[in-house]
Structure formats: C-alpha cells, structure tokens
C-alpha cells in the first residue's frame, strides 16, 4: 500500500488542525455554544454546497472568491458565508420554523483568497441571529451575547460600540451631504486609524464639501467622552432635537434609545457605549450596528453585527426583521492560543496509567476504568509487554499529560498507587515529584491536583 511517490501535502490556504490546536478550538466553540444556548439560540447546519445561483450576486466585488464548479448538469458553489444560507433556509423551511427564529451556526466557509498570514481559504464563521423580531430587546440580547461570550472566554477589558445606520444617514443629511451620505460613513469609520484630519481628507477625496464634512465629523464626535448610560441617553435626546425634521433621524434615535434603556439590565454599564463614528463595512444594515472591541494589547474588534431587516427575506419575497452578530472565531482562537499562562492545555488527557508488566495489566485496567467512571480522561500504556516504565513515562511527557500513575506489584501489595507529576499544566516541564496515595483515595487526589470539583 506504500505510495510514498505521492507527496503528503495539504492545499495552500487550508489547515490541518492537529489535536493541540483542536483543544483550543473546541474550548472556544464549546464556550460560545453554551452562551448561545443559555439565551435560547439553537444550532443550525447547512450544506457545504449550494446551487451556484443561490450564492451568485450576493457578494458584490468579492464574487470571484466563490469556489464554483459544475457537477453533472448543475452549477454549484461552496458556502461563502452563513448569512445567505440562513436566508435560503428561512425561505425554504419557513413553515417548519417558529418565529422569532433564534439560531446560531458555527461552520467552515470557503473563499479563494490569496493565502497570507492569518488569511485562509477555509475558515470557521460563528453567527448568531434573531430572525423575525423588530423588538429592541432582540438587539439588546444580541449585544449582551457579545458581552457574555467574551467574558466566558476569559476576556476582561472590552466593550461594545453601538450606533445606528439611521443615525449615520441622518448625520449626513443634517450636515448637508444628501446622496453622498455613504462616503461620510466610510470616512468616519476610519477615525480610529487615520484621525480627524485623515477623515476630512478622505471625505474631500469622496467629493464632499469641506463645510459638510466638518459638520458631519463634529456631529459624530459628540459621542466621545461618554462616561455612562446617562451620557448615551443625553446624547440621543440632543440628536432627537437636531434631527426633528429628518424622519430617519427621529426613528434612529427612538430605536437606539429603546435598546440603550434595556442594556443596563443585561450587562455592566462600562461594557457598551454609543459611538457615532462606528459605521461597519457591510451595506445591508438598516438599524443598530455594533462591534465589540478588546482594549488590551491593541486587539481591536473581535465581534460585529447589527440589524438588517431587508436581507434574510431575500428568498421569501418579504422583509424579515433580523438582528445578529458574528464572532471572529479564528481571531479569538489565535488570541487565546497566544495567551500567557493560557487556561487551555496541550492535551485533553489528564492521567496516564502506566503498566508495570503484563501480569499487572488487569490491575492497571481496573484502575483506569474507575478513573474514567470518575470523569477523568485516562490513557493506559500500550507498550507494556517490554516492561519499560521509563519509555512509557516518556510518551506521557511528550504528550503533555500532567499526571501519571504507577501500580507495580509492591504498590498492589500495599494497596497504594504512586502518583507522579510529569509536566506542569499547560505543557511546560515542571518538577518531577512522586507521592504514594492510598488506592481508595486516588480519584479524589487526582481531581484535587487537576483543580476539578470533588465529584464529576
């Protein structure tokens, strides 16, 4: 069966996730799943392949990144995002769904990008959406999902910036931009990167008159210096007066105020802030937009979303009010992998049971079985036939398993188990220490060493 003539290689831009990487990936995904499910969001999965015509015309200038091919007499394409499949599902299965439809979806997508550092052709997206509700509580709950997701992933210094597309439009109209409002958003969105002067320059490039540009920027900057929710509400009341003659502005203020009034019941006051300079790239938003920014380490935005009432109904022929957020899963995994003293481990295995010799195998297997029943992840040495304990422990150390047990004839006679620390948690090599523990107390001793609660 050897075919070493064919080189073992994966495609450029595609990754194998070996166990060490998968441990972190599963930790992040499982943590977020729990947050979503705690709030009544439920899982959805859609096929990797869709009819090409389902995908075409949806991604603008990025359409050339679609993986498209003919199969039989059909043109098909690989999933490019999770939003179009959601819209397709809502159109196809509306009769089977209960609305508001609260779903999360965590699946890979494929884009024929030029591979480069941190950019892949296959990567996971993680979307959470509420389809069929225009309640401000829906917006607020999605914002709180961002907060709780990052909290449960161990982040501390972060907050959600919050704005409304309707307010951005109103700012443009109020400043006198008319049809050029879109250029204003795009320029203001770059404020953190290019500063106020850069924003004005960019607006000039878009052909926006200098006085209009200055008025728009001044308005957007009104949200700076926010201390607490009272400031948000004061700002919104101020805007309501200014925008009295702009229906979209009044609607934007009222919608966003309703959301802001709910937020303190769901997350700390310091965890969100109205920020009139936030625009978000995608052009399909119709109401609230938000991004969660991690302050420490210049990490920046790790989740983003908003309300987009006119997209998910695209296959249904009707508007379906929708609000959702997307976690930058690959980015979050990278950050958590890079954490100093990370809480994730190199391996999920917690205990290695060595086998002294062939005659001791039954005793070692019985011990392993008891520990598994006590909720521990346990490996038993396979190469016991040579009776080479050193080699067995070397395997455990190479795997990063933190604790090993030795149960030879002496220990069996005395009803003891030798408990050996073979690697510090996290995979770094620690002191090798050994301790004899009574057989009946070993599960409890291991759980204590692993900082697990007393019972599984």
């Amino acid at each position: 069966m050897q075919e070493a003539s064919i080189k073992a290689q994966s495609l450029s831009g595609f990754r194998d996730f070996l166990p060490e990487k998968m441990v972190v990936r599963q930790y992040v995904i499982d943590t977020l799943r729990q947050v979503f499910e705690r709030h009544g969001f439920e899982p959805l999965e859609t096929p990797a392949l869709e009819y090409a015509e389902t995908l075409e015309g949806k991604y603008g200038e990025d359409e050339h990144l679609l993986y498209r091919f003919a199969h039989g007499d059909r043109n098909v394409g690989l999933r490019y995002d999770l939003t179009v499949p959601l819209a397709r599902v809502v159109g196809q299965h509306a009769a089977k769904l209960t609305f508001p439809f609260k779903r999360y979806q965590i699946q890979p997508v494929w884009r024929a990008e030029r591979p480069q550092k941190g950019r892949y052709r296959e990567f996971y997206q993680c979307d959470v959406d509420i389809v069929g509700s225009s309640s401000p509580l829906a917006d607020a709950e999605v914002i709180s999902i961002n907060y709780e997701g990052l909290r449960d992933l161990g982040f501390s210094n972060y907050y959600t910036q919050l704005n409304s597309r309707k307010l951005l439009t109103a700012i443009g109209l109020y400043a006198g931009a008319g049809e050029q409002a879109a250029g204003i958003f795009r320029a203001i969105d770059k404020l953190p990167k290019i500063g106020a002067a850069g924003v004005l320059e960019t607006m000039a490039k878009y052909g926006i008159a200098d006085d209009v540009a200055r008025r728009a920027l001044d308005l957007a900057l009104l949200s700076k210096g926010r201390r607490d929710q009272a400031d948000d509400l004061k700002l919104l009341a101020d805007l309501r007066q200014r925008f009295a003659a702009i229906p979209e502005g009044v609607a934007g203020v009222d919608e966003l105020s309703a959301v802001v009034r709910i937020l303190p019941h769901l997350l700390p006051d310091s965890a969100y802030a109205v920020d009139l300079t936030l625009a978000r790239g995608l052009n399909y938003y119709t109401g609230a937009v938000f991004e969660t920014v991690v302050v420490d380490g210049g990490v920046g935005s790790v989740t983003g979303g908003g309300r987009y009432d006119e997209l998910v109904g695209m296959f249904s022929g009707r508007n379906l009010p929708t609000v959702g957020t997307s976690f930058g899963l690959e980015r979050l995994i990278d950050i958590i992998e890079g954490r100093a003293g990370q809480q994730t481990r190199k391996t999920l295995s917690q205990v290695f049971v060595s086998v002294f010799n062939e005659a001791s195998l039954p005793a070692s297997l019985m011990l392993a079985g008891e520990l598994r029943a006590a909720g521990l992840n346990v490996e038993v040495a396979y190469d016991y036939q040579k009776g080479d304990l050193g080699k067995q422990l070397k395997y455990a150390a190479a795997r990063g398993i933190p604790l090993a047990l030795i149960l030879g004839p002496d220990e069996q006679a005395q009803d003891l188990v030798q408990l050996r620390t073979i690697a510090a948690e996290g995979g770094a090599k620690g002191e090798i220490a050994q301790q004899a523990v009574p057989r009946s107390e070993i599960a409890a001793a291991l759980r204590a060493r692993l900082n697990l609660r007393a019972d599984p």
Copy 2:
C-alpha cells in the same frame, strides 16, 4: 433586497439540519466525544478540499463518486472519507505527532451517490484510530470504545462480533481454497442474510469446489453457540491445533487470543463474541476485524473496524500498525431520533420567561439573568410591547419549551413567580398546570422539574 425570483432550494442529497434535528445530532456527537476523550483520544480536523491526487486511486470502483474539480491550475477534490486524510496527516506532520497517535475525527464527507432514502451526498463520519501500536491492548481498547459509546447513547442489547483476517485466510487455506480465499470470506460474510445453503451456493458461483466450500463453512460455524469468554479461548485453542501448519493461522490465533484475554477487563463478557463468519467488506484489514450489532429491532451493525497495518503509512513509505473503528453516525442519529420516549428534546431551551408589560421588563430580565447564571437555558419574550401574554405563551408552546414563568405586578408585589408547565418533556403536549413559587426558590424548583442536579 427581495429576490424571490431565485427559488430557495438545497441540492438533492444535501440536508439542512434545523434546530430540532441538530439537538439530536449534537447529543450523539457530544456523547461520543466524551467517550473518546475519556480514553485519551484527541480531536483532529482536516480540510474539506484535498489535492485530487491525494484522493485518487484510493477508493477502487467508487472513485467516480469523488467530487473533483479544477481550481486555478490545481485539481482538487472534496474529502471522501476520514482514513485517507488521516494517512496524509501522518505522512505530512509525523514530526509533530507523538506515537501511538490516538485521534478521533468527526466531519462531513462528500460522495456523489445517487440520492435515495437514507443515502446522502454529504454525511458525517466518525472515526477513532490508534496509529503506531501493534499492542493487543490497542485492539481491545478500540472494541471497548464501541461498547461504551453505545452504552452512553442509551443502547442496552448489543454486542461486538470479533474475528481476524488472518483466521479467515487460514480457514480458506485449511479448507483447500488456495488463492480463492477471498471468495470464501465474501460468501461467509453473508451468512446472517442468506443462510448456510445460500453461502454454499454463493461459493459455487465464485468457482469454489463443493468440498472446499463445505469444509470452510463448517470451520466458520465452529464459533456459533458461544456462551462466554471460555468458549472463545477454547475455540481459539482448537484452531491453533488445526492450523499448526499454516503460519498465518497461528499468528491469527495468537493475536486474537491476546485481545480476547484483555477484553473482560474492559467490558462485560456478554458484550463481545468471537465470530468466525464476520469478514467486513473492505480489503485493507490485516488483523482483527469487528462489528457492533444492535440486536433489538433488527437494527444490525452500527459500528465497525479492525486492524489495518499497511494503509496509514501509504504516504510515509513505511507500514504503521493501526487499529480503529468507525461509528455509523447518521444511522445512530436516525435510530435515536426514532426512539419511543426518546431522551432527547425538541429544543435546548428549558425555561421561557414571559414579560407582562413594558414596565415589568427589568424584573423579567433580572429573573432570566439569574436563571442563566444557575445554568439554565432561558428565553425571554421579545414581543412584550403588546402585553399579550397568551401570544407569548403560544410561542413557547410552539417551540416546545417545557416550562414558562409569569411575573406580573401582583407576583412582583408578593415576591412570587407563576411556574407554568406548557409542554411535557419531549415535545408532546401535556396538561397545563400552574403553580406559584417563592421568587427565591424558583431556580431550584425549575432544576427539580427538569430533573437536573441541585447545582449547575
């Protein structure tokens, strides 16, 4: 954005998994993951796309089922199974892996089959393998994984049939079949379906002489009537004498005996049986082969695997002894979905918190937050602005959420919550009952109603 002119449809043979289906799928996958991780197996994921030449020539007459296409100047293909990617990973990343490499992999694969009931073009496989060990404990542990996996999925009446490819070869040689041994396996493998007479007829069709066929079948039937492990070992000792002049037969007996001697330390005696009529379809096995059969309801085989020492090294240019098993995940999910009184639910949401009116929203949100912190999956009504409690509860019933809470001004004044049962667990409509519970006891009351342990 409405484009109702494009029909919302998925490709034939591809499925959307709506939340109700996903709940069962995740239950099965999470349960098996736990079993695998408890035994020190760790997750691996590989890309959906591989170089076409990695996949070509590996699937024999099924090669036309590969999804292959050109992308740029590359020929690529969608993952067809999880075994070739495992071999590719072992060849590509050997230096980063610790052997024995114990991995599990649960991912979709794609095959351009003609879609029909129960056969899909995209389906999940679930493989567990130990690469780099020829220890009989590796075989025994994989067999015990089959046992524990099904046990934790709630199966009771099932067992693992166990044989060895070397014994099958020896049976053929002993009976005088020479080069026709393969025809003998294939015929005997059909015994449960076509009976002894059918097997003899099939062998005749394969050109096997009648006396050879009868001798082979008689030998294979020696394993019938097994009561316990002692019978397995007696049978193997008997075969060792008969096969004394056939080296492959002696090796087969010795290998399988070593595995059988370990099994009682890992699983009940009734959960496995040597069965000389088991052959398994694939031709790459080199040692033990096994299948786990669910007896009740004529379900048949739900897992299968064996030792295949010459396959995983195909890209490495060397043999890598490997033993593994594959869970028929889609089949298991179908069976569990169809269970009467299934332990799975229609929704993961456990509690619906209604909102009496806009003024009560903060109280309802505080209650929901507390319950989430107590480990419950909680939804809050979005359409509270109309104050239509009946409509809110109708939504909860349609979703299959078993318990609902009402917290109006009267309840708030009396520090009570109304706890209403809106659907029996499992989604069937039950009696609607309502009970007032003190506010401070509500989390405990809900956990008790849901049969959860007292603390999360």
